[in-house]
Symmetry: C2
Subunit: 132 residues, 2 copies
Amino acid sequence: MTTSSTGSGGNGDIGDGRTAGGGEGGSNTDGIDPDVRAELVRLRESIDNIDAAVVHMLAERFKCTQQVGHLKAAHHLPPADPSREAQQIARLRRLAENANLDPAFAEKLLNFVIAEVIRHHERIAEDTNTRG
Amino acid sequence: MTTSSTGSGGNGDIGDGRTAGGGEGGSNTDGIDPDVRAELVRLRESIDNIDAAVVHMLAERFKCTQQVGHLKAAHHLPPADPSREAQQIARLRRLAENANLDPAFAEKLLNFVIAEVIRHHERIAEDTNTRG
């Protein structure tokens, strides 16, 4: 596994929205060395497995936050808990660092998921709260 | 588990950046019914477990995409593969739907992760490509 310079660019292998050369229809890995292709397929299968795992983990996470939302609403608890939030961010950053993942990315990801949780809860509130 | 109206707001339980009432220091779940608190703790533990799992899954995913990046660079393959990308998005949306997760959210999440992959690859390219 060596690196060589190909200039900056996607290399994402996962759809970065920038097309490489208009190769529509058919993968642009057609015609490459069979060993290289096999290695690429192996890695892509792992990426796909991981993506499926993450999607299912997040589906489960939203089930939990949904329950938290209903619980808090039913017991008139404040929606946000700053000390809990601070703990979560600190913990995630620590976990990310140990896993060799950029802690700033982990924090951004948490915020991204949180934005979706808020969207869910706003929907719950709209459904239950019919004010003019 | 019933819903009641508390107006729109976080309900995120995971840090939405909006503080609920300036309750600094100490959790704002202090003084609530022990059964409710126990339920909240149970849900929060699940959320924390899931977050740890996701962080580790993503660390593993970046290891894979890093390898893909090096492989493509070494064999002068184009960085992006539009047909692969389209397949990934379609598959993730399908998985999300089956898991009761908003497919649009799954797609946005993939794009969020992809942006980080691109950042990684740009760093690789910068490290290996010292152009004036």
